[in-house]
């Protein structure tokens, strides 16, 4: 069983936590997420043009690049994380250009060697799968695709074809960190996805508080929190803040179904 499938097989919903690599002391921040109870880590690869991201993650990208973060730095962060946390699944999330710059095979092989379990690429839809998908699959890395409120029934099979690890349901048509979708619409969307795939379904975009996360965890296999955590990376004593928020999110997510 892969680390990712184990994380979604604990008999309770999983908490997926996102921060941007190279934004502050990433190693300490990642350790804080794990200590707080994160089940899956999403590590953002900084990019100059993060066009699917809202202000919080845009700013994190700029801070990281401003500090001189390179692709090799991101891979090194991943590699060291894997050494410290042999069992916690790690997913790289980002945009196509930094991932394919040296060729998709190079990226996939390096990521695999660094213990990366999965990759989410915002701007490679199934129609352009050739650009990265085959290289990831060859190296045993899960390709986690995004499904959105605009992904209709006719299109869904194409999105699921070649997906593995989990399906990331983007709960709102929009960018990260801003709007929040109604729980009812999330529930029906997740049900539709689960009717079409055996993969776990994690829900993200606009999830900021333990209360929201707990409500979504009632209906989904996992909850993704990004911007609310990323905003803390810019603070003094970021690891303490991160551990605290993650712990309250984890409590809400992990226990969501017991309270129901």
């Amino acid at each position: 069983m892969s680390r990712l499938s184990t994380a979604f097989s604990k008999g309770r919903p999983a908490l997926v936590c996102f921060i941007t690599a190279g934004d502050g002391d990433t190693a300490a921040n990642l350790d804080a997420l794990v200590a707080g109870g994160a089940d899956v880590i999403e590590l953002g690869m900084p990019f100059t043009d993060p066009m699917a991201d809202g202000p919080a993650i845009q700013a994190a990208n700029l801070r990281s690049l401003g500090a001189g973060t390179t692709t090799r730095d991101v891979l090194l962060i991943a590699n060291e994380f894997r050494d410290r946390h042999p069992d916690v699944p790690l997913v790289l999330m980002g945009y196509a250009n930094p991932m394919i710059r040296r060729g998709p095979e190079w990226f996939a092989a390096e990521a695999a060697a660094c213990g990366v379990d999965g990759v989410i690429c915002v701007d490679i839809p199934p129609e352009e799968d050739d650009a990265l998908g085959p290289a990831l699959r060859e190296n045993g890395i899960d390709l986690i695709r995004l499904a959105t409120p605009t992904t209709d029934t006719a299109r869904l099979p194409a999105v699921l074809e070649g997906s593995s690890g989990f399906v990331y349901y983007v709960s709102v048509a929009g960018i990260t960190g801003l709007q929040q979708a109604a729980t009812a619409s999330i529930e029906s969307a997740v049900a539709r996805l689960k009717g079409a795939t055996e993969l776990p379904v994690a829900v993200g975009f606009g999830v900021r508080t333990p209360k929201q996360a707990g409500a979504i965890a009632k209906v989904a296999d996992g909850v993704v929190v990004g911007s609310a955590l990323v905003e803390l990376c810019d603070k003094l004593d970021a690891p303490e803040h991160l551990a605290k928020l993650t712990a309250s999110l984890a409590e809400a997510v992990h226990n969501a179904r017991q309270l129901a």
Binding site: F47, T48, D49, P50, M51, A52, D53, G54, Q58, L62, L65, T70, T71, Y95, A96, N97, P98, M99, I100, R101, R102, V122, D123, I124, P125, E127, E128, A131, R145, L146, A147, T148, P149, T150, T151, D152, R155, V159, V170, V172, A173, G174, I175, L178, Q179
Partner: protein, 403 residues
């Protein structure tokens, strides 16, 4: 270099690829709309009423056909090939941008979209978009880098007069690339009712194709006009390239005429070894803003800031069909610096009484170099894609004149 195809005019393929370039590299949220746009465009192409409406607006609103003009005194001054200009700077709104905006707003209306957004750098595409939105009564939001808003106040005011809302974008370097990011962010959140009028022959498929098709009116007219006036095809076509919409519009109808050479002119800014906007000369293939193409970028795939004196050429990418035409060798690409463009700008003012924009001034600089190397009976046809009224403050500043 790829082997020579039978025709250079049947790209893109059904997946929207021009060889290795182009494609649909967008977030999943946009993908269904991109597919819907393609379906709607195919239906429009098959509908004579759509073409008739486009042609009618081109004739009576834009003022087409634009003249084809023999630049006699410039030709004499250069002492080589005959120089002819396609006068797209005489269009309504003063540039070729309006051709594409008319086509896209008709598509938007066909698709039942009620709101229009666009990005703009110098403001020419923003003005053209605001113009067609006023003409058809649709609300218009223009995303413009805050840096550009500050340095292009006359165009900002024009857009506002035309009823558009201008949103200053402060992310990144606050120029065209960032305006496009912000337009894409807005579009993702308003995908149900909003149409994005992209200003150049780039972005996700089918934009590069449909922008090219709407702009091909330039080359089709020029071809017929030159044949009528001289009985022959040109020897060399020349056009400036930022994203590349005016160039592909001129080139495309001639691509299968083997005797016609073509030269695309990128902006070399301060020089190719310094800051510039020449993606083909100084970039590498990559993915940005929905398509795969040549991009100015570092070894990690981070996108560089472009520089050109011409805000319309100041973009770190290029339309994917140009990337393909470069690799096949069908079109030659060169570049011209800020200083060379400024010289050409003044040359055209003094020899022909035409104040061209800084964008086509790059093309004129390349024409000046080539004309001297060609026989006197050879014909160069260059596109004057915009007029220079918007640029007089920039030019004055570079010439050290206080206004």
């Amino acid at each position: 270099m790829a082997s020579s195809p039978n025709s250079y005019r049947n790209m893109p393929d059904e997946r929207g690829h021009f060889g290795d370039y182009g494609g649909r590299y967008v977030a999943e949220t946009l993908m269904p709309l991109i597919l819907e746009l393609e379906t709607a465009y195919r239906a429009a192409q098959a509908d004579p009423a759509f073409q008739a409406q486009f042609d009618d607006l081109m004739a009576h609103y834009v003022g087409r056909p634009s003249p084809l003009y023999f630049a006699e005194r410039l030709t004499e001054a250069l002492g080589g090939a005959q120089v002819w200009f396609k006068r797209d700077e005489l269009n309504h709104t003063g540039a070729h941008k309006i051709n594409n905006c008319i086509g896209q707003i008709l598509l938007a209306i066909r698709m039942g979209k009620r709101k229009i957004i666009a990005e703009t750098g110098a403001g020419q595409h923003g003005v053209a978009t605001a113009t067609v939105c006023a003409r058809f009564g649709l609300p218009c939001t223009i995303f413009m880098g805050a840096t550009d808003v500050a340095r292009q106040q006359p165009n900002v005011f024009r857009m506002k007069l035309l009823g558009a809302e201008v949103v200053p974008v402060t992310s990144g370097a606050a120029t065209l690339k960032d305006a496009m990011n912000e337009a894409l962010r807005h579009w993702v959140a308003h995908v149900e009712d909003t149409f994005y009028i992209i200003g150049t022959a780039a972005g996700p498929h089918p934009y590069p194709e449909l922008v090219r098709d709407f702009q091909s009116v330039i080359g089709k007219e020029a071809r017929a006009q030159l044949m009528e006036r001289t009985g022959r095809l040109p020897d060399l076509l020349v056009a400036a390239i930022g994203g590349g919409s005016n160039a592909i519009g001129l080139f495309h109808p001639f691509l299968d005429d083997a005797s016609v050479k073509m030269l695309g002119v990128e902006a070399a800014g301060h020089g190719l070894d310094k800051q510039h906007a020449a993606s083909l000369a100084g970039g590498f293939p990559g993915v940005l803003h929905g398509n795969k193409t040549y991009l100015l970028q570092d070894e990690d795939g981070q996108i560089a800031e472009a520089h050109s004196i011409s805000a319309g050429l100041d973009y770190p990418g290029i339309g994917p069909e140009h990337a393909w035409l470069k690799d096949t060798g069908r079109v030659e690409y060169t570049s011209v610096t800020d200083d060379e463009a400024l010289d050409a700008f003044q040359l055209l003012c003094r020899t022909e009484g035409i104040i061209a924009a800084l964008e086509p001034s790059h093309a004129i600089a390349a024409v000046a170099k080539r004309a001297k190397e060609m026989e006197r009976d050879a014909i160069i046809l260059a596109n004057l894609c915009g007029r220079g009224d918007k640029d007089i403050f920039t030019v004055a500043e570079h010439l050290g004149v206080a206004m």
